[in-house]
Each structure stands twice: as structure tokens, then as C-alpha cells.
């Protein structure tokens, strides 16, 4: 609102003209040429490609960007790499999840407060 450049496009840049060129039965190579490498593929063999794009908006500089639009263009291929199914997921499909903050513990301990302060001092040039 304050004229701040808040809204930023993230992920795949969607434009409907090229999207419409992908039809049932077109080959994987064709899709690759037209749409480019997918944001992420869901099979090792590449039998489902996802093109994920998000529009995020940040009203004020300090806020976390909020997703205002999220579109996923999914292309599913059959055994011999022909487009079998196309699906579009929108923002409404996504579930709101609060992500667990438990993490798998890793090595490399935290340096204590004082050690850290002293360590820097001894090294000041």
C-alpha cells in the first residue's frame, strides 16, 4: 500500500498461451521444449511434472511475504512418455499447515557466550 515494491513473483513464470499448447498425447520432449524444465518432477522416471508458481505480496517492508496466488500446472505422463492427464491446482487446494519445529539433532555444538566473545576479541586485527 505504501507504494512499497511488495508483490514479487516466485517460482515458474506462467503464461497461459504456452500452457495451452500442451495437449493430451503430446510427448515429454515437446513439453520440455515449450515449458522448459519443471519446477520439480515427481517421479524418477519423470511421469509427473509440476510447474509451481506463486505470487507473494508484502504490504510493508518488514512483513513476511504472504502468498496471494499459488498455481501448479501438473502434467502426468503414461508409460511411453505421452501426456496422459493435465491438472491445475490453485491456492485453495493447499492446506494451511503449521510446520513442526522438532528437528533431527545434529553434531557441532553451540559455542558458549563467553567463548564466542573472547574468540573474536583475540582475533581482532
Amino acid at each position: 500500500c505504501m507504494g512499497y515494491d511488495g508483490d514479487v513473483y516466485r517460482g515458474y513464470v506462467i503464461d497461459d498461451k504456452t500452457m495451452s499448447q500442451i495437449k493430451m498425447g503430446s510427448s515429454a520432449e515437446q513439453t520440455l521444449v515449450v515449458l522448459g524444465t519443471p519446477s520439480t518432477t515427481s517421479t524418477v522416471g519423470g511421469d509427473a511434472w509440476y510447474y509451481i508458481s506463486q505470487k507473494t505480496e508484502r504490504k510493508l517492508a518488514f512483513m513476511q511475504p504472504t502468498i496471494t496466488d499459488q498455481r501448479i500446472f501438473a502434467v502426468y505422463f503414461d508409460k511411453n512418455k505421452k501426456v496422459q492427464r493435465i491438472a491445475n491446482y490453485g491456492l485453495e487446494d493447499g492446506k494451511v499447515i503449521n510446520f513442526l519445529d522438532r528437528t533431527t539433532p545434529t553434531a557441532g555444538g553451540e559455542t558458549s557466550f563467553l567463548k564466542n566473545m573472547m574468540q573474536n576479541l583475540l582475533r581482532f586485527s
Partner: protein
């Protein structure tokens, strides 16, 4: 044929024979060459003697030790690895000669080009020898002078000032910026090139740059040839868009140059950035703007055009952070607006690089691209090098208000690599003692919002300008919220306890009218017992705190004060700005608990403008207001108590309403006021003639301002232990006009007159920190006066002020 070896001692004959592949002429010559190449032999001769080949060799002797004498600049341990002659190695005159050149080269690079090196050998009883290098280091050979050819628009003095490398002068003993270093020179040339591009010289070229060593003057003469070309003005500006539905007119607003302006390289770069960001916001993440200038040399004009075109559709596959041995990965990654999987956009990457550099945690930040796993993927590699961000500050300082100050502070701006700022500082001074601790987390809870807290304890002793001592301790919680790149909001809550006390002892009898000190306080005189005529010394005349201050000293105060500040900041450089503006509005409300109830609001606007070359003009406006609420009248401690910060040339607390009831010395009777306004106009300029690295700047200024509006109580019975409701008692004076009793009411002299002064100052960026000398003469002030025979003091002036030291 058989080969006989003569004269070999340490090297056994067999190895020498093995060098001879055969006995024909060619093989023999080759063998001789190889034997010499080993460096073990001084002389090799081959002759045929009766069908046999005799190889007479003279072995090089073995070096016992390599020693140096006469060197102090470069120590022997650092010279030994540089020379090829090694102890226990073979002595070879050719290697020694090469070593001499090597040592000379080392000295030239260390700024001692005139050094002479000679070598000699010392034979030893065990058949070995020592190689001794004798060095005469000679005087310091830096850059004698830097000359420019072909510069008409700007003087050589001006261009030299831009450069890091400086000429030798009487300061050479201290500095090392005058040492000849080719890398620094090339960096200087880039600075000069950008300077010319910034001032309209689009065709600027550096034609020649040669450094000649002048034996006579024992130094380097650097000559830089420049071809300035014409100073171009912008004839037309237009924006072309090769992308169908982007309307160029919309992008015009981002162009920072208009017709008639002088061409400016930096502003072109900024315009490109603005346009690219605007286009990216419209969803064309891959496009970017490309500047093009069609020169018209005759009219010396440039037609500027920005071409917006679709870039390659490339996405970022991964952002790899390397080299961060201390800073944590997410502290670096969060400075990027774009992430993995997003469209690659050069402008946003450069912005992240700028942000990372501004953090101050890294010696080097280099962002490069590597090809990704498919043609339209790129891996962004962020290579950083941590630098020590801890600083240990010891600084001395002197200011006329606080006397001599010493401060020891330890701060760490990248604490545990998390980007947090921690600072502990203790201040020891003649008149102030204190300790404060502050902590700031720049990304509170993942938001780009800084949050932190401070704890402080401070004790101030009395001084010429304040008759009371104060003890304060407390803390504050604060948060800084950036609204846009320029505007930010600060929110804080501070809670502190403060208690003042009035010293009442032999040499500071400031309360002896109420608590007489036997043997010191004259009298006690009162209405019933007037002092003998001609008395000069009374309990008031030996310095007495105003009854308003005695009242404030009665009880401690806890102040619980939430507040906010709105800051607009476009200064180009925080430490010494040359352009841009800074505006701040602060409001604090004391009264959320605690026993003080007032609303204090202050405002300040500073505007810097580069008038000419290095001369900077600077205008400042400031103002403030304070009012009590809930029946609470703001007293002495709440009021604004201003002096030099409002108008230079006045003593601390020297401006504003005064208690003139005692008819005597009023330096310490300032009551402060509730409203103030001030304005300053200043011009800062380098002091010509002084070499740049001394870091001296001069300034001329005019200050004006006023402080008025005492809204506090005027009756203070409690302070004099009088029953409440006692009417005002007049102050009683001796025949010679000296007061000998203290009234329970104050007589406030509160004038709205504008105080003003004109003055000059010297600002010195000394190795101990910035030091500033101000000399100002007030030409409009509230003067002393006599009303009904009673003396009433006016403003207190103090022409000279000096403050310095302190960590920055």
C-alpha cells in the same frame, strides 16, 4: 671406452659416470651441461687421454649457513625462505646473484627501493662456507609525486584527493598509503573513471599510466594520462519496450535523468535498476533494461534510451553459500528476496550482494553463477569471507559538560554468527560513571524487524552547570520496523528509576540554608536575626540549590514510558553524509504506572546538500513540546534542559526559564522549559593545503533557537519543611543586596526571545575517533538585568566547546 673421474669428493664417481650416456662428442657435451645444471660443480672439464675419457670436476663447496646483516625492516626469518641458497645446499655463484635480485625486489615492494644488497662468503675450518648478504636499507622510497596530463575539467589536486595512494610528505613517517603498489594504483584509476562518468564525461578514457623510479629523488613518479572528452548533457530520454504489453510511459518515472541534466553514470545505473524492478513486478521476471547512449559530439549531447527486452528464461536451481566459517547460512540466505526455483534476476542478486556488504560481517562477498543441471537452470554461488566483527574500544574524551571521560567498550556485531549485535560499555569520567549493555536481533521471529533491549546504570556528579547529583538505572525494550527502504518505525518501552540528591558538605554547601553546616554556614540569619550590615557571605551566596530542585530531590521517581519514533532517512553515508535528508519524529508518554505523567514529543529534520566539489551545506530544524496530564505539572527533571545542542555558544542548561528569586549566581538555577524550537545552517569544507590523510575539516555555522514555557509548581513548602499552604515568604536581602533567606516560592524569568550565535568549528577524524572544536559567539541572548534593585540572571554563555573521543 672407460671414463675416469678426478676431483670428486662428496659426490661419488658412480653418479657422475651415470650422466654419460655414451662417449661420442654429442653425449659428452650433454653430460657436461647436465652436471653443471645440478649446481653441485664449480667446473667440469673432459679430455681424452690415451683411449680413456678423463672427467675432471671441481665440486662447489657446501653452504654451512645463509646469514643476513644490516636488515631491520624485513627480518632474516622472512628472507631465508625467499632465497634459493640453502644451508647444507651447494654454493653456486649464479644462485647467489639471483638471490640478491630477489632481496632487492622484496625491499622495493616494501617501499625501500633504494636498498643495496651485496654478498660475501666466509670460509670455515670444516671446508664449508657461510654466505652472508649485506643489506643497506636506505631511506623510505614511496610515491614522490603523482602527475596528471590532459586533465582540464578537474585540477590534479582534486583528482589526487580521490585516490587511495598518496604522495610522500611530512606525515610519511606515520602512514603507509604512500608506498608504491600497482594494485592500489589500478583501483585508484577505477575510482577516477567512475568520478568522471558521474560528472558527464561519457567518453572519458585513461590513456596512459606509467610509474618511473627516480634514483635521484629515491621514489616513484607516477604519471596518469587522461583523455576527458566532452562533458555531455542529456538531450533526450526515452524508454523502449520490446515486450508487447509493457507500456514504456509507465516506466519513465523510474528514470532519474531528464533533458538538460549533465550525464551521470551512477544515475543511469540506478534508473536501470528501477526499471528492471518495475518490469519484474509486472511478472516479466526475466526481462531487464539495457541503457544506450547515442552521442552527438558536435552538440556535446547524449540521447539516452533504455531498451527493455525479454531475457533468457533461466531459473535458479540452487543457492550455494560457501566460506561462511562464522556467519550462519540463514543469516546470509535471508538477505535474498529471491529463492531457489525463482526466476534468475540480476538486479535482485546485486541488491542482495549490496545488502550482504552493508552487514559489515564479511571481508569479501562475491556472487557468481555456475551452469545448473539443465540449460535453463543456474546455480548461484555466494562466496563470502568472514571478518572479525568484534571490536574492543578504549577511548578517552573531554567535553566541557562531562569533563574528562574514559570509555571501555566491547561489542560484537555478528554474535555467534547469528547477525545479532551485543555491546557492553563502561564509562569512567570526572563527572559521569556508568555501564550499559545492549542486545539487538536484526530478524526478530523471522520478520525483517529488529528487536532488542538495553540495560543501563548511570551516576552523574554535580558540575559547574548542575548543582545536584543523580543516580539512574533501568532498561528499555525496543523494536525497529522498516516500512519502506527510506521510512522506518521505532517502537520502545523504557522503565527506569532515578533519584537526585543535593550535596551539602564543606566545599559544596548547596543545601546549607535548610541544614546549616556548623563552622561553614554563616549565621543562621532569618527574619528575626538579620545579618550585620556589610555581610557578603550568607547561606544563599555560598551557592544554594533552587528550591524547585530541592523539591525534586525529595522523592525518587520511577518513569514507565512507552514511545515511538518515525524516521525518514535517505542519507548517503551515516558517518559523514554529503547528501540526502534525515527526519525523525519521536513521542514518549510517561504514565503507564510510575509516578511521572507527561507526554514528550520532539522532531528533527537534517538536510545535506553538496554545494561544490567537497563543500557540503547542511540545514537542521528541531523542535519539541512537553505537557503534563492527570493534574501532574512537569517539574525540573522532566523539562527540556538545553544548551549547546540548541544554540552553540551557550552553556549546558544555559538557555531557558530560570529561578531568579535568589538574586545571585544563576548558572545552576536553570529550570528547563516545555517548548523549544531551533534552526542551524552550516557549511563544511576541507581545509586546503593540509594533506588529505590528516582528516581535518572546517565549518562555519549560524544557530538560532529558543526554549520557554515553565509549567511546573512555583510553591515548594515541603522542600523547606514549612507547613503546606504557607503563603510565599519574600526573600530577605542584606543592605548590600545579598539574599540571606530562601523563599519558598520561585520567581521564574521565562522569556520567548530568540537566542542566536554565529561561529566556526574544526572537525578532525583523529585515530582516537572524531574530535570537534566549536567556537561560537552569541549575538542575541537574554541579558542579566536589575528589577527593583534585585539582580536577575539571564542566559549563560560558553563560547568554546570541545568534545571528542568515544567509539564510533
Amino acid at each position: 671406452q672407460q671414463i675416469v673421474v678426478q676431483g670428486s669428493q662428496r659426490v661419488d664417481a658412480e653418479t657422475i659416470r651415470s650422466y654419460f650416456g655414451g662417449t661420442d662428442e654429442g653425449r659428452i657435451n650433454q653430460a657436461v651441461k647436465d652436471l653443471y645444471a645440478t649446481g653441485l660443480f664449480a667446473d667440469v672439464k673432459v679430455r681424452r687421454e690415451g683411449g680413456r675419457i678423463v672427467v675432471a670436476v671441481v665440486e662447489n663447496s657446501i653452504i654451512n649457513r645463509v646469514a643476513f646483516e644490516g636488515n631491520s625492516k624485513i627480518k632474516s626469518d622472512s628472507l631465508i625462505p625467499e632465497v634459493q641458497s640453502k644451508s647444507r645446499g651447494a654454493y653456486n655463484p649464479a644462485t647467489v646473484q639471483a638471490d640478491i635480485e630477489r632481496i632487492k625486489d622484496l625491499y622495493r615492494r616494501a617501499g625501500r627501493g633504494a636498498a643495496t644488497v651485496s654478498s660475501r662468503t666466509v670460509a670455515l675450518p670444516n671446508g664449508r662456507l657461510d654466505v652472508v648478504f649485506t643489506i643497506a636499507e636506505g631511506g623510505k622510497t614511496g610515491v614522490r609525486d603523482i602527475e596528471f596530463t590532459g586533465n582540464h575539467a578537474y585540477s590534479s589536486y582534486r583528482l589526487r584527493n580521490l585516490m587511495q595512494t598518496t604522495e610522500m610528505n611530512w606525515l610519511s613517517f606515520f602512514k603507509n598509503t604512500d608506498v608504491y603498489d600497482p594494485d592500489k594504483i589500478s583501483a585508484d584509476l577505477e575510482i577516477i573513471r567512475r568520478f568522471y562518468l558521474k560528472n558527464g564525461y561519457a567518453d572519458f578514457r585513461i590513456v596512459s599510466n606509467d610509474a618511473r623510479y627516480d634514483e635521484a629523488r629515491e621514489g616513484w613518479i607516477i604519471t596518469i594520462g587522461v583523455d576527458e572528452g566532452a562533458q555531455y548533457r542529456v538531450s533526450s530520454v526515452n524508454v523502449e519496450s520490446r515486450i508487447a504489453d509493457i507500456d514504456p510511459a509507465v516506466l519513465r518515472s523510474n528514470v532519474r535523468l531528464k533533458e538538460g541534466d549533465v550525464y551521470n553514470g551512477d544515475l543511469v545505473e540506478k534508473s536501470v535498476e528501477g526499471i528492471t524492478r518495475e518490469v519484474a513486478r509486472k511478472g516479466y521476471a526475466f526481462s531487464s533494461a539495457r541503457p544506450r547512449g547515442d552521442r552527438n559530439p558536435a552538440a556535446q549531447t547524449i540521447a539516452l534510451s533504455f531498451v527493455v527486452e525479454e531475457g533468457p528464461r533461466v531459473y535458479i536451481e540452487r543457492i550455494v553459500v560457501k566460506g561462511n566459517t562464522r556467519t550462519r547460512d540463514y543469516v546470509i540466505r535471508r538477505e535474498f528476496d529471491i529463492g531457489e526455483g525463482d526466476a534468475y534476476n540480476r538486479v535482485l542478486i546485486e541488491r542482495a550482494e549490496r545488502r550482504l556488504n552493508n552487514l559489515g560481517f564479511f571481508k569479501k562477498v562475491r556472487i557468481t553463477n555456475e551452469p545448473g543441471s539443465s540449460p535453463d537452470r543456474v546455480v548461484v554461488v555466494v562466496d563470502v569471507e568472514d571478518q572479525p566483527t568484534g571490536s574492543f574500544g578504549i577511548s578517552g574524551g573531554y567535553s566541557t559538560t562531562d569533563g574528562v571521560i574514559g570509555e571501555v567498550s566491547v561489542s560484537e556485531s555478528n554474535f555467534q554468527g547469528r547477525g545479532q549485535f551485543v555491546r557492553v560499555a563502561t564509562t569512567l569520567g570526572q563527572r559521569t560513571r556508568g555501564i550499559d549493555f545492549s542486545f539487538t536481533e536484526p530478524y526478530f521471529m523471522g520478520y525483517r524487524m529488529s528487536a532488542g533491549f538495553d540495560l543501563f546504570a548511570k551516576q552523574t556528579l554535580n558540575s559547574v552547570y548542575s548543582v545536584y547529583e543523580s543516580r539512574t538505572f533501568g532498561g528499555a525494550l525496543r523494536a525497529g520496523i522498516p516500512i519502506t527502504d527510506e521510512i522506518s518505525l521505532g517502537v520502545r518501552y523504557s522503565l527506569y528509576y532515578t533519584k537526585i540528591s543535593i550535596p551539602n558538605d564543606i566545599n559544596r554547601p548547596y543545601n546549607d540554608c535548610v541544614f546549616p553546616i556548623p563552622g561553614i554556614t554563616p549565621g543562621p540569619y532569618n527574619a528575626g536575626n538579620p545579618p550585620p550590615p556589610g555581610t557578603v557571605l550568607t547561606c544563599v551566596s555560598n551557592g544554594e540549590a533552587s528550591v524547585a530542585i530541592k523539591d525534586a530531590a525529595l522523592r525518587a521517581r520511577t518513569i514507565s514510558m512507552p514511545g515511538y519514533s518515525l524516521i525518514y532517512n535517505t542519507l548517503d553515508n551515516a558517518k559523514n553524509p554529503t547528501s540526502g535528508a534525515y527526519a525523525e519524529l519521536r513521542q514518549d508518554v510517561a504514565g503507564l504506572g510510575g509516578n511521572a505523567r507527561f507526554v514528550k514529543s520532539t522532531g528533527e529534520i537534517r538536510y545535506y546538500y553538496p554545494i561544490f566539489e567537497d563543500v557540503v551545506g547542511f540545514v537542521k530544524l528541531q523542535g519539541g513540546n512537553l505537557f503534563g496530564f492527570g493534574g501532574n505539572k512537569p517539574g525540573v527533571l522532566d523539562n527540556f534542559n538545553l544548551g549547546p545542542s540548541l544554540v552553540r555558544g551557550f552553556a549546558p542548561g544555559g538557555i531557558g526559564p530560570r529561578d531568579v528569586s535568589s538574586g545571585l549566581d544563576n548558572r545552576s538555577a536553570g529550570l528547563g522549559g516545555t517548548t523549544y524550537f531551533g534552526a542551524t545552517a552550516e557549511v563544511q569544507f576541507p581545509i586546503y593545503g593540509l594533506p588529505k590523510e590528516v582528516g581535518m575539516k572546517g565549518a562555519l555555522f549560524v544557530d538560532a533557537g529558543t526554549l520557554y514555557g515553565y509549567k511546573g509548581k512555583t510553591e515548594f513548602n515541603q522542600a523547606l519543611f514549612l507547613p503546606p499552604g504557607t503563603p510565599c515568604q519574600p526573600t530577605l536581602f542584606t543592605s548590600t543586596g545579598v539574599a540571606y533567606t530562601q523563599s519558598n516560592c520561585i520567581n521564574v524569568r521565562d522569556e520567548h526571545k530568540i537566542r542566536a550565535s554565529v561561529g566556526a568549528s574544526i572537525i578532525w577524524a583523529s585515530p582516537l575517533g572524531p574530535i570537534r572544536f566549536d567556537y561560537a559567539i552569541p549575538f542575541s541572548k537574554v541579558k542579566d538585568q536589575y528589577v527593583g534593585g534585585v539582580y536577575q540572571g539571564g542566559d549563560v554563555t560558553q563560547y568554546f566547546r570541545f568534545s571528542g573521543g568515544g567509539t564510533f
